[in-house]
């Protein structure tokens, strides 16, 4: 049967098992919206800004093992989506974004709402396509989903001109994809895996450093088995939190700029480091010149060869799917008669435990007068039993959430790590809540970030999304203020948030419940009440200490050992 390009587009999404399509209509996608109207399998979620559509699709993908899907119109629809696409790209999130384009005959004429979508998004997508013929729509969308999900995941854009979406052709959905130039690695090299196993068994001061790749490849179980089998300390990056259970004694906390003292010191002093689905990011290992102080061997396991030896020299590179590589590594280790040296391991753990004491752990001075932001996160953790989905925006609140909410499961911590996109938290929470109805979804944010996509409170109302927004309102762009305090002589240039709205009234205006919490003693009762309202979105405006800083902190450009632990506590 002949179908229009628009009908084919939606039919492809059905074939891919797409539950939700996050989008915003416009001229170039009118045919596609018409096709959406005439079916009920793919549910469309109407956001209030295209950036939010992409973040919502992103949150949906991060909290599940599915591809997130967004639909935007040409021109400003696409440019609004770019921040969301770049956010997904930097964190390797599987996503397909469909954009409308002006008709093929108008391309290049500076037509109304025309931008070069493929050109603008090229540096921030895994791949993109401009579909010039209706016959190519189905195969292109098939390829897009395959590319988004396989190998190192990432966003893929499919740009469809308006005339192409109205032309008709026979619908055939390809059963399989073959892209001759694209062959993501599956299993790792067995010889390299055996080499790595031997190196691990002979290590005296080993360290396991696991990143977002563990979460993306659903390899938490394999990672956990590996860490327990070997008895080594394990750290997670910001993106990897939940990849290894935070309540386990072998977990030394998050590493990096705001990581624990013990995690950073163990990174600096280990003799064998195994990096698993992590990329030695500048916010994670600090100044690369200061990183390899002690001679050490590095084993790096990653699906993307270009992540290996990008910032640091690697001794044993293993390219492959983490789940397959870790499974094989576990088999080799279990089959070996050799075990890690018990005496050396005891000495190493003694050292790590000493760092735990020296570092003093994550700590802050609580107050009965003013709400400490860390206390809010601790209370959130206590009341949700560590089982909530927590999305965050970007800044101090993000770091406190990462530090004080102990994630025991993967895909529960949803944040923009690579791009650091303010405005991510609320729309991402919408995607998470839709994927997990009935589960607790908390959006930890600040008064700065929340205002970057606050219009989505309207979307939450329309679709009855009972997200709990915890805004740590300190009337400052807190992380900017912190850097200005430390590195710019207390000159708080443009970091004070004046003329803030009354967030309680604002939440109410959108049809939600607003709460303002000023006293530490009100934090827990307010949160209890908020979480008891299972069907309501509750916006909690916590007025927190404006002077609080995030510690520990490795200043930008320094090595991981050059850590500022905390102010006088």
């Amino acid at each position: 049967m002949e179908m229009t390009g628009a009908e084919i587009t939606i039919r492809c999404l059905q074939e891919e098992g797409v539950e939700y399509l996050f989008g915003y209509p416009g001229g170039a996608v009118l045919h596609i919206y018409d096709a959406i109207f005439q079916q009920d399998k793919v549910k469309h979620i109407l956001v209030r800004h295209e950036q939010a559509a992409v973040h919502a699709a992103d949150g949906y993908a991060r909290s599940s093992d599915k591809v997130g899907v967004a639909l935007v119109t040409s021109g400003p629809g696409l440019t609004n989506a770019v921040t969301g696409i770049a956010t997904a790209y930097l964190d390797s999130i599987p996503m397909v974004v469909i954009s409308g384009q002006v008709p093929t005959f108008a391309i290049g004429e500076d037509a109304f709402q025309e931008v070069d979508a493929v050109g603008i998004t090229r540096p921030c997508v895994k791949h993109n396509f401009l579909v010039k013929d209706v016959k190519d729509i189905a195969s292109t969308i098939k390829k897009a989903f395959y590319l988004a999900k396989s190998g190192r995941p990432g966003p893929v854009l499919v740009d469809i001109p308006k005339d192409v979406s109205s032309h008709k052709t026979e619908f055939v959905y390809p059963a399989s994809v073959n892209i001759r130039s694209y062959h993501p690695q599956g299993r790792g090299d067995s010889a390299q895996i055996r080499h790595a196993a031997q190196m691990l068994l002979e290590a005296k001061r080993p360290m396991i450093y696991a990143g977002g790749g563990v979460v993306l490849s659903d390899s938490s179980a394999q990672l956990t088995d590996l860490v327990r089998l070997l008895g080594f300390p394990c750290t997670n990056t910001l993106m990897g939190l939940g990849g290894y259970p935070a309540n386990d004694k072998q977990f030394v906390g998050m590493l990096g700029m705001h990581g624990t003292y013990e995690a950073n010191m163990a990174m600096q002093h280990c003799d064998v480091l195994v990096a698993i689905g992590a990329r030695f990011d500048d916010r994670v290992i600090g100044n690369v010149e200061h990183f390899a102080q002690v001679p050490r061997k590095i084993i790096h396991i990653d699906i993307d060869p270009s992540s290996i030896a990008k910032r640091v020299k690697v001794d044993v590179p293993i390219v492959g799917d983490l789940k397959l590589v870790l499974t094989e590594l576990l088999e080799v280790l279990r089959a070996s008669r050799q075990k890690p040296d018990a005496v050396e391991m005891a000495a190493w753990w003694k050292q790590v435990d000493e760092w735990r004491v020296t570092g003093g752990g994550l700590r802050y001075k609580n107050s009965s007068e003013i709400i400490k932001p860390q206390f809010v996160i601790e209370t959130l953790h206590k009341l949700t039993g560590g089982d909530a989905f927590v999305t965050s925006d970007v800044g101090q609140h993000q770091m406190w959430a990462a530090q004080y909410y102990k994630f025991n499961h993967p895909r529960r911590w949803i944040n923009s790590g690579g791009l650091g996109t303010m405005g991510f938290g609320l729309p991402a929470a919408m995607g998470v809540q839709l994927r997990h109805p009935g589960e607790t979804v908390a959006c930890v944010t600040g008064e700065g970030s929340i205002q970057m996509n606050i219009q989505e409170l309207s979307t939450c109302k329309q679709y009855h999304l009972p997200i709990k927004v915890l805004s740590l309102n300190n009337c400052y762009l807190g992380m900017v203020r912190q850097w200005q305090e430390f590195f710019h002589g207390n000159r708080f240039s443009e970091s004070y948030m004046d003329a803030l709205p009354d967030f309680v009234k604002l939440a109410e205006a959108y049809g939600h419940i607003g709460m303002r919490i000023d006293k530490p003693s009100d934090v827990e009762p307010a949160m209890k009440e908020a979480f008891s309202r299972k069907n309501d979105l509750v916006f909690m405006d916590f007025r927190t200490d404006p002077t609080e800083n995030v510690f520990p902190m490795v200043p930008g450009g320094k090595g991981l050992s050059e850590v500022v632990l905390s102010e006088d506590l």
Binding site: R122, P123, K126, H127, I179, S181, S306, A309, K310, K313
Partner: protein
Amino acid sequence: MRHIISLLMENEAGALSRVAGLFSARGYNIESLTVAPTEDATLSRMTIVTSGSDAIIEQITKQLNKLIDVVSVMDLSEGEHIERELMLVKLRAEGEAREELKRLTDIFRGRILDVSDYTYTIELTGSRVKLDSFIDAIGRDLILETVRTGASGIGRGNRILRL
């Protein structure tokens, strides 16, 4: 160090800009870049001359391989290879100098493609060094116009880059 990287990629709109964009986005050098379809019209062959430390060249080849449109990549400078560049150069050729320019062209095994009362247009093929030497030998004063293609390269013997 100078490297000459050869690659096969899908002969599709936008493929060239993916490669060029990669180099500018990641701050890699491009000395020259040539591209044209191969005997298989679905494939283009590109030769890129670049420079950088071993670590940077390793990243360049990995990043190129990561582009979905790129089918295969070879660093020709890792082994024996042949490299050629074509230059068209228009010279002021007047009076006694005409004979001398003709001789120099012969010495460099160039060909005079076009002659006018006042000019010669010469075609010369060779390595970058050879073309540079020719320009030096002629002297910049006489050169009216130069067009160079940038290097194209191919491996020697069994070093073959194909699908």
